[in-house]
């Protein structure tokens, strides 16, 4: 499971409503596990590249791990309470990756709403100032 697979896993978790702190926790543990597996392969005499390939293969694919998470509804029901992970920038990039058009629409509507609100406030302020 190379790096893009981890990103796919994170995106899949967030897109299906898993809490962000849970996604971070799972990814951190998988990465830690990968380091141990890679060391194991290197101790067995593998080249660095072969060790990394072997480690990802042993860890499993992102779709299998995602399916296992989704098979356990209790993991998505509970929000918060996971061991605090150091903040990592997976939230926005992966959320955007998961549904880029929705994020773009949301951003556009927020911007438009802000502009309209500011215009109305300015108009109101100028009316008050001019005594209308």
């Amino acid at each position: 499971m190379p790096e893009p697979a981890l990103e796919r896993l994170a995106a899949g978790l967030l897109a299906r409503g898993l809490p962000q702190d849970y996604a971070q926790r799972l990814l951190a543990e998988l990465e830690d596990h990968f380091i141990d597996l890679e060391q194991e392969h290197r101790l067995a005499g593998c080249s660095p590249q072969a060790a990394a390939t072997g480690a990802w293969r042993t860890l499993g694919t992102d779709d299998v791990i995602l399916a296992q998470v989704l098979a356990r509804p209790e993991l998505s029901r509970h929000h918060g309470g996971w061991l605090g992970e150091p903040s990592r920038p997976i939230a926005l990039p992966t959320a955007a990756y998961a549904d880029g058009h929705a994020i773009a629409r949301w951003g556009a509507s927020i911007s438009l709403g802000g502009v309209l609100t500011a215009s109305m406030l300015l108009l109101l302020a100028s009316m008050i100032a001019s005594g209308v």
């Binding site: 926790r25 830690d32 209790e74």
Partner: protein, 112 residues
Amino acid sequence: MAKSNPPFMSGVPELLILRLLARQEMYGYELVKAVRLVTCDAIVLGEGVIYPVLHSLERNGALAAKRKPVNGRTRVYYGLTPTGRQRLDRLSDEWDRVSSGVNAALGEPAHA
């Protein structure tokens, strides 16, 4: 994943995890290796899929997780809670009952 376990193994990984963690706290990688060792490689857990199992047990109160710094890395160690011990006892009893039944059936002469 080197091997896969057949569908009837459902529930067995949980039993083994609880049994091993009843002895001592472990982290994921250590736990996967321990399962292989104590079962003489008869049971091989998918290494990445052990985490959803651990997290589910943690969510259900059977396990408690805590971070420990080890050699410049931070690992998540899992330990059994009193709820987990009760669950282990219940699953062990269930396993004894099922395995006795299956053994009895396998030992019985086949009917014509």
